[in-house]
């Protein structure tokens, strides 16, 4: 292992060290929450800095490949890739992870002695998410996916005294494992079709398709389909979304944000890596499938979100629609990746803020967040209501929010790729989106509610503040960040 190899996996190293530090400090040294919590926050921060260093070190180079061990170069099967795409992904995932830690802070406090376990799992999950974005090999991608997923299964059921949390964890576990199995089966079939497990290198998918014309694509098509289904489960694209509403509703509100935003962010970026960067030669085979998945997602997500009376379920179903919007941008392959990156990162931050507010309004350990909890919030807690309004308008894609800029980009990319029908469909469902987000706004401002809202902890306020600032700043002046995502291309 040389220095560049170490830099490539430095965020993982830091995060895992952080997880160990948390457990050591809390369990063996019996230190207070402030200390091991700070250690966890520091680990996330430093991992983000490490990703930033990667970005800076890459400079104008397109990226570099890294092997599992010296001497295996002969297999020409690199495991890890470090490119601007993964560096930006690393920064974004660590930011989201840090927001997730802050949002979960109150929950962690209420967990007592199990708090450190939760935080250690959170760090492991973030490490897994990050590894998903740097994986240059589908088996490594699978391992990273499982690392993140298994951590999240446990986190979903952490408030095990609540029955619905148990149900959520079990449901998440069963359906998630099912999806993982499909994914890994897809990897196996892809190997059968191409003999490649990696994306890059002489034995990778790209060089296979550069030199081979697939005449009978039967197995290949099945493999691509299964990969897509596996990713579809993870990012909750319809029709593979059924787990999301129940899991979000049952899992503790303080943890849901990261569970939803983190998995989606890493899932979309990995999806972009595998399909847009790894299989550009096969775009004719997968782009229409992605387009159909996108079309089904925006319709199903929007329509089902419109009838929800629980904010968490609404965010879950609207997340299905958002998965569809991201997939709209992916239909055009690598040209759509800047749009996908912009959309996925800003959506993740907005979603973090929205779920943090759910925790503030309905309790961070609680499950459901019915509309009744939100009624009259405009009078009871004007600050929270205003922040939620800004985030919901951002999610709804109104101008002068990051959501609008993101939508503008994915739609522009898709029209350029010839998917005008999909864009018109997605725009119409955006109107439905406006309807259900405004329903929450209307509930907060036009309805009368009772009871005082518990004081919002500073950690939640930070998360919400960051999310609102990002939503508005990248909506009003997105240009510098647009330049960043334009340059953040995979190798």
């Amino acid at each position: 292992m040389n220095r560049a190899d170490l830099v490539a996996v430095l965020p993982e190293v830091i995060l895992l060290a952080g997880a160990l530090a948390v457990v050591t400090l809390a369990v063996f040294a019996d230190r207070p929450r402030a200390e091991w919590g700070t250690a966890a926050g520091l680990a996330l921060f430093l991992a983000g800095v490490a990703a930033g260093v990667q970005w800076w070190a890459l400079g104008d180079t397109p990226g570099s490949l890294h092997f599992s061990a010296r001497g295996l170069e002969v297999l020409r099967n690199p495991m890890v890739v470090m490119d601007p795409y993964s560096a930006l992904a690393g920064i974004a995932i660590c930011v989201v992870g840090l927001l997730g830690l802050l949002a979960a802070w109150e929950l962690v406090g209420s967990l007592g002695r199990r708090g450190p376990e939760f935080v250690a799992l959170l760090l492991l999950a973030v490490a897994g998410l990050h590894a998903m974005t740097i994986a240059a090999n589908l088996v490594l991608l699978f391992l990273a996916l499982e690392t993140a997923s298994i951590s999240f299964y446990v986190m979903a059921g952490f408030t095990r005294e609540r029955l619905d949390a148990d149900e959520a964890a079990l449901k998440y576990f069963l359906l998630g494992s099912f999806a993982s199995a499909i994914f890994v089966y897809g990897v196996a079939l892809l190997f059968a079709a191409t003999g490649a497990l990696g994306i890059y290198g002489a034995g990778g998918l790209r060089s296979f398709f550069a030199t081979t014309i697939v005449v009978e694509p039967g197995v290949l098509v099945v493999a691509l389909g299964m990969l897509l289904v596996g990713f579809g489960f993870k990012v909750s694209a319809a029709p593979f979304h059924q787990w999301a509403p129940d899991v979000y509703q049952g899992a503790p509100s303080g943890a849901v944000g990261l569970m939803a935003a983190g998995v989606k962010l890493a899932g979309f970026l990995a999806l972009g890596r595998v399909f847009a960067a790894g299989l550009p030669a096969q775009i004719d085979r997968w782009s229409s499938a992605v387009a159909i998945l996108a079309g089904v997602s925006v319709i199903v997500g929007s329509v089902l979100a419109a009838v929800q009376r629980d904010v968490k379920r609404l965010l879950a179903y609207s997340g299905v629609a958002h998965a569809g919007y991201v997939l709209v941008g992916l239909t055009v392959g690598v040209f759509g990746l800047p749009a996908v990156t912009f959309y996925a990162t800003t959506y993740a931050v907005m979603l973090m803020g929205a779920f943090a507010l759910v925790g503030a309004v309905s309790g961070s350990g609680g499950g459901a967040s019915p509309f009744e909890d939100w009624a009259g919030l405009g009078r009871r807690a004007p600050g929270l209501a205003l922040a939620m309004t800004a985030l919901l308008l951002g999610l709804g894609g109104l101008p002068f929010t990051a959501g609008f800029v993101g939508k503008l980009q994915v739609f522009t990319a898709a029209i350029r790729g010839g998917f005008l029908w999909l864009v018109v469909l997605a725009l119409v469902t955006t109107v439905v989106g406006l309807y259900f987000y405004l329903r929450v706004v209307a509930t907060m401002y036009f309805d009368d509610g009772e009871g005082a809202v518990a004081a919002t902890p500073w950690t939640t306020r930070v998360v919400v503040g960051v999310a609102v600032v990002v939503t508005l700043a990248l909506g009003i002046f997105p240009w510098p960040y647009l330049d960043v995502v334009r340059d953040a291309l995979p190798l």
């Binding site: 308008l393 109104l398 101008p399 002068f400 609008f404 503008l408 980009q409 739609f411 522009t412 029209i415 350029r416 005008l420 864009v423 018109v424 725009l427 119409v428 955006t430 109107v431 406006l434 309807y435 405004l438 329903r439 209307a442 401002y445 036009f446 240009w479 647009l482 334009r486």
Partner: protein, 512 residues
């Protein structure tokens, strides 16, 4: 010096100033809101003074490119088509704010919404970048949603959502059209995309593409106008909105639709405009007659004025798609006049509502004897709205009729019945509310207009009178830009605008 940026930014800065008023000083909010609504008016007066009347192109153009890839930039400009809508916006807004004294609960949020609304409206009229235009077009929904939903009457929630959804559906198609156009313009210019209006206008689109895009744009704008049969959101939104909301809604928001039809549909899709002109004229005439007929039977005077808007805006659509200078220019003029007269009528109705908390016509009767000044102003505005000569409504409607008669004589004649019907519903309403003996005892002690209310109404009365007696300066600034649009249509298509039936010499203009 960037006067248009300043113009768009000033109301927003005002909104921030109002939002910063500390909670313990609520009495500052109302005067401060009025004060911050005046600087945009001052900027507009300066723009009006420096506007070059004969220049058909965009003036005071500002252009800062934000993103080369996306082709988006902060591009602003003003021409004869948008100039008086900008004037109208800045004139109506201080008056609407001053008329909102009865809003006590949530006054700060209300004033902030009004000022943000003003920024959005001004942005729509001066934007020269299609994405910036769309952003302002869409953002207007948010303050209007809150104004209707928070400070409206009983069915406000329903009306607010209906308003948003109707408009947003149109916007969805509009954005699809804008993106397609921007990409095509970028391709033509060797870039990835360009949403610069002038680049897009330079495109040579196929007839098929023009038709699709025309429909996408026209749908969005027709909902906003609203053109029959897409009008059903309007009576609800108007009736439920607070007074100032109705004033701005009727006065300015609807003009976003007619403005869009001229600015985008006529300019960008000349062949499709000629092809679809017949349909649009027919829909305009149906709207004129339908709106007027339904207005007659309304028991609620606010709803009556709301339906009258559908009728008046039908005239604007008729004139626009008559595809003559008089028709289009008269439509723009009528839009401004409608903003003044209908705005004034909504203000008057709001003042009566503040006193009696009802808008039912049968709750009144004979109140001219207790509120003579109010009755006088109401009658004046009713006459202006109905198109009595020497008042602004007459100039607009008559010019539209003159402009549309040569190409669509039947439509012009049918539309003429709208003028008659307008006299019927307005004067019949006047008769029932004001004339005769006082029917209800609680109406006997109604106060007449006070100083603040008069101060709000007098500018509108003066403007209606000035525009009615001496419209030439306004028409002189509108017509060059309209002629340019029409010349383009004639150059690109086989369309020949018929010679005017009659030159209008209202107010003794010096034109030949």
């Amino acid at each position: 010096m960037a006067p248009l940026t300043l113009l768009v930014a000033l109301p927003l800065l005002g909104a921030l100033a109002v939002a910063a008023v500390p909670r313990r000083r609520p009495e500052v909010i109302f005067p401060l809101a009025i004060a911050v609504s005046l600087p945009p008016l001052a900027v507009v007066l300066w723009i009006l003074a420096s506007f070059e009347p004969g220049d058909p192109g965009f003036q005071l153009v500002e252009s800062v490119r934000w993103s080369a890839e996306l082709g988006i930039g902060w591009r602003l400009g003003i021409d004869g088509i948008s100039l008086f809508l900008v004037v109208l916006t800045t004139v109506l807004m201080p008056l609407a704010i001053a008329a909102s004294k009865s809003i006590v609960e949530g006054r700060k949020a209300y004033m902030v919404s009004m000022l943000v609304l003003e920024t959005g409206l001004l942005g729509v009229f001066v934007a020269l970048d299609l994405v910036v235009f769309f952003a302002f077009f869409e953002i207007v929904l948010v303050p209007m949603y809150l104004l209707i939903g928070l400070w409206g009457s009983e069915r406000r929630r329903y009306a607010a959502m209906k308003f948003v959804l109707y408009t947003a559906i149109g916007s969805a198609f509009l954005l699809a059209g804008i993106l397609a156009l921007g990409l095509a313009a970028g391709e033509a210019g060797g870039a990835l995309a360009s949403f610069d209006f002038r680049d897009v206008a330079a495109l040579d689109l196929s007839v098929g593409a023009q038709r699709w895009l025309f429909v996408a744009f026209a749908l969005a704008f027709a909902i906003k106008v609203p053109v029959f049969p897409l009008h059903t959101w309007l009576p609800d939104a108007h009736t439920e909105a607070p007074t100032a909301g109705s004033v701005v809604l009727a006065g300015v928001l609807l003009k976003m639709g007619t403005y869009g039809l001229v600015r985008f549909n006529l300019t960008l899709f000349p062949q499709a405009s000629v092809d679809f002109a017949g349909i649009m004229v027919a829909l305009g005439v149906v709207g004129i007659v339908y709106g007027a007929a339904v207005a007659i039977v309304q028991p609620d005077v606010k709803r009556l004025v709301a339906y009258s808007s559908i009728s008046h805006l039908g005239f604007v659509v008729l004139g626009t798609f008559a595809l003559t200078v008089q028709g289009i220019g008269g439509g723009i003029f009528l839009g401004v006049s409608h903003g003044l007269t209908t705005g004034a009528l909504f203000l008057l109705i709001g003042m009566l509502y503040d006193r009696r908390h009802t808008r039912r016509i049968d709750a009144f009767g004979g109140i001219a004897s207790v509120m003579p000044v109010y009755a006088g102003v109401f009658l004046f505005m009713a006459f202006a709205s109905a198109g009595l000569p020497a008042l602004s409504g007459f100039v607009g409607e008559f010019t539209v009729l003159l402009g549309s008669f040569p190409s669509y004589p039947a439509a012009a004649i049918a539309a003429g019945s709208g003028v008659v019907l307008a006299a019927v519903y307005l004067l019949w309403a006047y008769e029932r509310i004001f004339t005769g003996p006082v029917t209800e005892p609680e109406n006997e002690a109604l106060d007449d207009l006070d100083g603040r209310e008069l101060a709000i109404l007098v500018p509108l009365v003066a403007l209606v009178l000035v525009l009615g007696l001496y419209p030439r300066p306004v028409l002189d600034r509108i017509e060059p830009a309209v002629s340019a649009v029409l010349e383009r249509i004639e150059a690109e298509t086989g369309h020949v605008a018929p010679a005017p039936a009659l030159e209008l010499h209202v107010g003794g203009g010096e034109e030949g």
